[in-house]
Symmetry: C2
Subunit: 332 residues, 2 copies
């Protein structure tokens, strides 16, 4: 498996454009640059096998944070939940191997299913997701931020084997999450921890679904699916409502700041979430190269010549670095 | 999934016998009680997606530490490798779903395959493993320490689809590992990191196999199978040959010390590795309860009335606690 077509791989930027890791400002992901502070981790976090009760505390904390009516399971990142789907489907008794994915979107859903021999149909309208074993929507969508209301998605449930709603970027979109609807048959919601909390390295994500489906995911995940550190940090961060609320406000403000900063280049906003912005420009590859000349890494897409996605700078010096780069592009 | 029949679940001990976590000495696992010291973890360990180059550094370090001739993949614990097997087999083109496991052994191999609909035959002699899609040997074996020489296992290769050798407890048995033989077709070796290094909470293990098979495991694992902390700690610890050599000597000495300590109870040594000892006694459940009355947790097995397994105490006070308990059992 190659990581060629993912954000967050600063190796590739360095190979193409030089510089050391410390020279680069990585805006190629949608990860919050102002991370949740790592709490003290007592030694057993590292030394001991995670206990059932610590996993349950994490799951209960997440369940309460997201008002889940279904059951929940912590896994090692939303990506791990994606990796499970080809194996979940036969275990859950879904009759076929036919998936439909609302695209363009995060490419791993299609990738993982196709590698496992599934027929994957990419559709461009929500209602086209009907009539398949597995319908997949990323909501809000990556990279364009397209956001459906809960009732639009719930309406699909009678027409599919399972509806997977990947809510990896949902944390700022209060009121749009389907986690409170996970008592409904056929609905599976993925949540990411690392993006909003800025801690992608700990590998933590969640599957929310009916108790029956969660039992299957639990069997696929095995007894120790997440690290002790992920459990401890997850419990602390998911309980910290003050940090969450402040972060939503800050991210919204910073997203608007980024949009304003980009304006002079002529690139126009396509959409996004407070964690990343998608812009349209005449030639995305050229725009990426110009930013890379300033050691700023961005994300472009194999299916679009004009789309460029930027995450948010964090530190003041990072904003200034981007501002200088933008000014030189504007002049050029 | 229940954790009822695993070591390391001190929750269960507390529910049955009372006490707080801090009151208990947990000898129910085979995890080294003197853990490798956690190195400094720079902030990107937590915040960033693990890069390809950091994963490659970890894999190369492990490959060199174990003289692997095949390819290698880091996964989130040897358990995760076990969880992958039912999905690996069809992806690798194995014709059937018939596994044979040399038992008694670690129960998750059979558990995971049966849950995925495999026919699992438990056999008691090595040569009975022939003629199946997947043959599984834990070497050295958990819980009895039975250890096969490489050539005995290699001889099986022509007679099975794949031979999985779970070397979770191999670190002290220099010369017995099959990792140098992983250029041979059909051989898959699992290695654990957490047990020997005493860091079970970080969730790190490895699959070593032919490059073709590792490509399949890689696809099943996805782009970010292990945490940033696991990568950093793994690289440091697997390079530290001085610590490794000292630890092997200390574990061997401590295992002998434990055997001597147990002797007065009348329990006899069945076998083990330097990380755990299996003893035979008239009634293992009674022995477990007597130790539990002193807040010492042990491991007994559903398939044997007489086997009790003990891991090693670490701190001097833990040795003393066990000594006091043993003396009272001896008297009783």
């Amino acid at each position: 498996m190659t990581l060629k077509d993912h954000g967050g791989n600063i190796d590739q930027a360095m190979a193409q454009h030089g510089g050391a890791v410390s020279d680069w400002l990585d805006l190629s992901t949608g990860i919050n640059p102002c991370a949740y502070p790592i709490p003290d981790l007592p030694p057993p976090t590292w030394t001991d096998l995670p206990t059932i009760s610590s996993k349950e505390r994490l799951n209960e904390t997440a369940k309460s944070a997201w008002s889940c009516r279904g059951d929940i399971l912590a896994v090692s990142g939303a990506q791990t939940a994606i990796q499970m789907m080809p194996h979940f489907a036969p275990a859950a008794g879904l009759p076929g191997r036919h998936a439909k994915i609302l695209t363009p979107t995060y490419n791993e859903h299609a990738n993982v299913l196709r590698l496992a021999g599934w027929i994957v149909e990419e559709v461009s309208h929500l209602e086209q997701l009907a009539d398949c074993d597995l319908a997949i929507v990323v909501n809000p969508n990556n990279p364009n931020g397209r956001l459906y209301r809960p009732e639009q998605l719930v309406a699909l449930l009678p027409h599919v084997g399972r509806l997977v709603v990947d809510e990896s970027f949902m944390d700022c979109e209060t009121g749009y999450s389907l986690t409170p609807d996970t008592d409904k048959t056929g609905l599976i919601v993925f949540r990411s921890f690392g993006k909003f909390y800025g801690l992608a390295g700990i590998r933590l994500g969640f599957v929310v679904a009916s108790p029956k489906d969660i039992r299957i995911f639990n069997q696929l995940a095995g007894p120790w699916p997440v690290s002790g550190a992920a459990i401890e940090i997850g419990i602390t961060a998911l309980s910290d409502h003050e940090w969450q609320n402040e972060t939503i406000l800050r991210l919204r403000k910073d997203a608007a700041r980024l949009d304003t900063l980009i304006q002079p280049t002529g690139a126009t906003l396509v959409g996004g979430t407070p964690l990343f912005r998608l812009y349209d420009c005449p030639n995305a590859a050229v725009f990426q190269d110009r930013l890379a000349a300033h050691h700023i890494w961005s994300r472009i897409f194999p299916y679009s010549r004009s789309f460029i996605r930027l995450g948010l700078p964090g530190l003041q010096k990072d904003w200034e670095k981007l501002e200088i780069a933008i000014k030189s592009i504007e002049k050029g």
